[in-house]
Structure formats: structure tokens, C-alpha cells
Amino acid sequence: MARYDRIATIPPPRREDTFAGWMTLRDLTGRERDQQLGRRARLRFLALRPVQRLLRRGLSGVSARSLGMQVDSVRNELSFLSADDPERDRLMAYLAEVGGRTPAGLVNATLDVGGSAEAAGHTYAAEEFYRTGLEITRLHDLTELGIRSLRRLGRIHLARGEWDAAIDFYDRSAILAEASGDLVGWARGRRGIAAVRSCMGDAEEARWILDAVATRGRDEAAPMVEAMAAAGRCTLERHEGELEAAVEAGWAALQLMDEDEEPRNAVLLEMASCFRRMGLRSAAEASYEIVAVRSAWPEHRMEARVEHAVVAAEMDSVEAFRSRRDWLLEGRAPGDPHLACLLHLGLGHGCMAIGDHAEARHHLRQAISTARDAGLDTMLTRAEALLSALERNAGVTGPPRARVPAPEAARRIARDVESLGEALVQQD
């Protein structure tokens, strides 16, 4: 039994009342004895300190020798991370930028490492890296990077349910973007606020915000702004269960975006989820096929490939699911732990859907093991929850998830998406 720790009961200090970089350690709260997480948190803490030192003293206020020693000291600790841990490469690149001392390089590096922490569910570490990056953008007038940093901070606070802070950061990003003539940046900020309102249960307010963005996009002949609004509307309506409205908004967004724009793939993934709920399997599969081919993001590609298999399982096409699963497992296992978790989580879900509980357990345990080793808390939570559900319901066949009848408008859009998929096949 762990000894009582009086220090554990002390509330965390405010950022300005503690030493530089301490906030990166806050994700350890409640998990102080998790040695893996402790080592990772310590590494991020040590990595951030040289940048915060440069912030305090000025980019040229630290001798090359001393900064080099501090950076080398961090580099020596990287061996704690396994060779295939993606955060290791990110930190190596980050440390190179720290040595380079260019403002934009430092900001991009902090955003990158912050993104890695955020993907792992370590929001306090992510926040501290983003805040550090934001401070650099302010000192060096890096407006575009400042807008991105503000949006990321909005996203962090949204993830933690800290609505006021989330809205504040998104709003500041929108204001800064608008002031610098970046209308798309403004739209992204406003879309972020709409997402917060939606999470707060105020869908009407969220719709109003997105409609205002769309109107401005039309008025100022900015199709990407309109597309942002439509994409936001697609996500909102899907969360609200308004699937017809979601696919209509998604289709509108697709018409406004170029084929090679990554946000288009995010919209297709949203639409695919809607098609699945409505039993429109072919359209869902076509959406996933398009994303799997076109997306430049490994996460989107993996999600698309895995869900392409799972949709077959959900529609009781056992052979199709098994065939797709085999194809996915034939190739080299993804080195990136995040992608590996996506793969095994999805296949675990698919195996559960066809009643193959033994294989489902295998995949979920694989996901749990990978997530644990790589410190991917969000993935770990999802995998553990799914495994618990499996163990609770093993052997019990419940009714299939209720499908929403597909209205004619949704069917028409589904056929259009299938045509996109066919066109893609013909191109290839």
C-alpha cells in the first residue's frame, strides 16, 4: 500500500508561481507512481527548459556552449524512449531547432512536440509547449504561428471541458487572424467556438455561429471559408444525430474544397460515420476508399483502412471483414504506436461485431499493450473500455445497433459519393 503523501493533497500551483516547465508534469497528477509516464513527463520537462530559458534571456542571451550543454543533457536522456517511439524523433528534431535558435523554428518545434503530447492525451504537457510557442510568436511577431498556437490552446481547453478558456483562445485566434487578413484562420477560430458551444449543449448557438461564417464566406467570395463552415456543420449535426443535415453539410463542404485538401478527407470520414448509421454501406466504403488513397495524413489513412474493414463487419459481411482484416495484417506492422493502436482498436471492434471474441480480445490486448508502452493515455482508455465491454457481454448476443432510416436526400448524396469513389478507381 502506498504511503500517505501529504504533498499529493496540495493543489497545483499557478503557472506563474512555479518553476519553468513545471506544468508539463501535471499529467502525472494521480499517477505519480507510474514510472513510464514519470520518465516521459520528466523528459518533456527537461526538453522545454532550454526554450523557456531563451525566452527569459533572449535568443542571443545564452552562450552557445551553455545552451549546447543543456540540450546535450536532454539528448542523453532520449534513450529512455524506444527507437520506434515517434516522440523520440520529434524530440530529436525539436532539440536541433533549439540549437538553431530561429524563432519560427522554435515555435514549430514546440507545436510539434505539443501535438505529440496532445495525441497521447497529456494535455498539460501539450498546453505548456503551446503556451511557450505562443510567447515566442508574440515576442517575434510571428502572426500566423501565433494564430495556430492560440487555436491549439483552444483545442486543449475544449478537450478538458474548460469552456470559457477554450472560447477565449479560439476567439483570440479568430481576432488575430481577421486583423492580419487571414479569413480562413478567422473561420477556423469561429468554428472552434462553435465546437465549444456544441459541447456545452448549445447546438443552436453553434449553428448560428457557423451560419455567420458561411454567410461571410459567400459575401467575400471565399469558398474555403464557406467550406470550413459547412465542415463544421457536418460535425455538429452528426453529434446531434441529425444525420441527413450532416451529410448535406458535408457534401456542400466537399464541393467547395479542392480534391487535394486534407480537410476534405476529415469531412469524408465524418460522412462515412453518418452513412454507416443509415445503413448506406457502399457510400461509407467509398468514403473510406477515397481517404485511404488521397489522404496525406497517416492517421486518416489508417482510420479509413481499418473502418473500411469494420463497416463490413457491422453489415454482417463476415467474409469481407475477414478478408480486409487479413490484408491489413499482412503488411508490416505500423511502427508508429498511435497507428498500431488505431489498427488494433478498430479490428477489435470489428471482431466483436462478428462475434469473434477471441480475436477481439487479442486485438484489444495488443492495443492496450502498445498504448501503455507508448504512454498513449487516450488510446489506452478507449481500448480498456472496449475490452471491459467485451468481457461484460461475452457470449451475449444483443440486438444490432439501431439504424436510422436514410431519407432520399441522404441517399442521393450517398450515390454521389459512390460515384466519386468509382471515379477514383478509374483514375487508378
Binding site: 504533498i7 518553476f19 519553468a20 513545471w22 502525472l28 505519480e32 514519470g38 520537462f45 530559458r53 536522456e77
Partner: protein, 261 residues
């Protein structure tokens, strides 16, 4: 030159601190208890301690006790610090940390030590005088604050500035400061009140550090300047009020006062 109270058992650590703070006085403690006693008895500007200085003792808990008793005295924590240590140290009130890998980085350690021993009270007094008296007057006050805990007297202050006592008195008058004697009295009061904000200090220990023969002597000086009850107040408001009274006693440089909006 500041006084640093240090609890660093390893010779390498002592050398590293010595290299980082060559201009400061270091008083070495052998354990946490002695470190606390040192800071209580002497006007240490900062403390430095190896988290694992005493085997079997929870160093973080000691840091916490230190920061509870001396909340205004920075404490730098050295050593091999894992993630849990670092998390707890932030909550315990450590001012900054020197992880094992950074102990040999002389520039870095020097920066941290300098930040820790920064006389924030001197800055606060200077800020209060800004716009009321000129830079030479503020420089004189600053030199007084730097040595107030060494039993500084008016002749010492005059000598430090290459002046006779009578010349110093004339300059203080010209610059719009209080007389040199009142200036030093006020600085002792302000430092005394500031130190008494720390629960770990007693009136007796503070009086001794300021050169008073006893706590009663300090109390009398306090009553003569700030007024009020004989028990010295231990509140931030009391300190701020004393600072206001000190500034008000300085007539100010007429040319600066006239230029104020």
C-alpha cells in the same frame, strides 16, 4: 554580495555552487534542520539543497516545510530528480531545480542562483521612489539596501560613496531624500517587516540580523517610525503602509515632482 544557505553534501555540488556564485557568501549546513536554523538566524537571500541530502528523509516534504516557514526565501533544489520528485517539488514550493545533468553547466547554474538571490525588496523600494527622486538618490538607497543586514551605519554609507558624513547629509537634502540616519532606520524597518512576513522568523532573530540589541529595541524603532502597537505586524499591508510612510518622508526632487502629470 548575498548570503546563501546551502545543504549540499557532495563535494562536486559544493564546487559547482562555488563556481556559480563566487561573489556570494555561502553558509554550509549538514542537514535540513541546520539549514532551517541558518535561514532563521541569518538574512539568507536564498537556500540551496540537495533533495536527497539526508538518507531516509523525504526531501520534498522538507522543501515544503521550508517554503511554509520562509515563503519569501527562494530555495533551489539540486539532485537526481525523477518525474515524481519534480511534480512534488513544484507543489512543495521549490523556486527552481538543478537536475543532475545540469549541475556542471556553470552558466545555467549561475543564472539560477542570480535569479534566486535577486533582492526583490530593493527593487520594490526603488520602484516606489521612481519619479520622486533622481537616479543618484536611488543609487544611494540601493547601496544601503545591499548592506543593511551588515550593521551599516551612516559613516559606512558615506565612506562607501567617497563622501564625508556632512556632504552625504547635504546630498540627501538636495536629492529630496530623508536624512541619512532616517534613511537607514527606514531601510531596517522595511527589511525587518519583510522578514517578519515569514512565519519561520522571530522578532528576536530579525532584530539581531538588523543590528538591534534586542527585539524590544526593534519594536521601539518600529513604533517610532510606523506607529501602532508594540507587537510588530506580520502582514503585507503593514509592509506596504511602512513603504508609503518612508516615501512620504522623502520630500522628493522638486524638478521631478513638477514634471509629473
Amino acid at each position: 554580495m548575498a548570503l546563501i544557505a546551502a545543504l549540499l553534501p557532495a563535494e562536486a555540488q559544493r564546487q559547482a555552487l562555488g563556481a556559480a556564485a563566487p561573489d556570494h557568501d555561502v553558509v554550509w549546513a549538514v542537514d535540513w534542520r541546520e539549514l532551517m536554523r541558518t535561514v532563521k538566524a541569518r538574512p539568507a537571500a536564498a537556500a540551496v539543497a540537495d533533495l536527497h541530502a539526508e538518507k531516509g528523509k523525504d526531501g520534498v516534504l522538507r522543501v515544503h516545510r521550508f517554503s511554509e516557514r520562509f515563503p519569501l526565501t527562494p530555495i533551489l533544489v539540486w539532485g537526481d530528480l525523477d518525474g515524481r520528485d519534480l511534480l512534488r517539488l513544484g507543489k512543495a514550493g521549490a523556486t527552481d531545480v538543478v537536475p543532475g545533468g545540469d549541475a556542471d553547466n556553470a552558466d545555467l547554474v549561475t543564472e539560477m542562483v542570480c535569479d534566486a538571490v535577486l533582492d526583490r525588496l530593493a527593487d520594490r523600494i526603488d520602484e516606489a521612489l521612481d519619479g520622486r527622486v533622481g537616479p543618484e538618490a536611488r543609487e544611494l538607497v540601493r547601496s544601503g539596501t545591499a548592506r543593511i543586514a551588515t550593521g551599516l551605519q551612516v559613516p559606512d554609507l558615506a565612506r562607501a560613496h567617497g563622501l564625508s558624513v556632512s556632504t552625504l547629509e547635504r546630498r540627501c537634502d538636495q536629492w529630496g531624500l530623508a536624512t541619512p540616519g532616517r534613511l537607514l532606520l527606514w531601510l531596517r524597518i522595511l527589511y525587518g517587516l519583510r522578514w517578519l512576513l515569514e512565519p519561520g522568523r522571530s522578532v528576536e532573530s530579525v532584530s539581531g540580523q538588523l543590528g538591534y540589541s534586542s527585539g524590544a529595541a526593534f519594536r521601539r524603532a518600529l513604533k517610532a517610525t510606523v506607529g501602532g502597537r508594540s507587537t510588530p505586524p506580520r502582514t503585507a499591508d503593514a509592509f506596504e503602509r511602512a513603504l508609503e510612510l518612508f516615501v512620504a518622508e522623502c520630500p522628493g526632487d522638486p524638478s521631478l515632482l513638477a514634471a509629473r502629470p
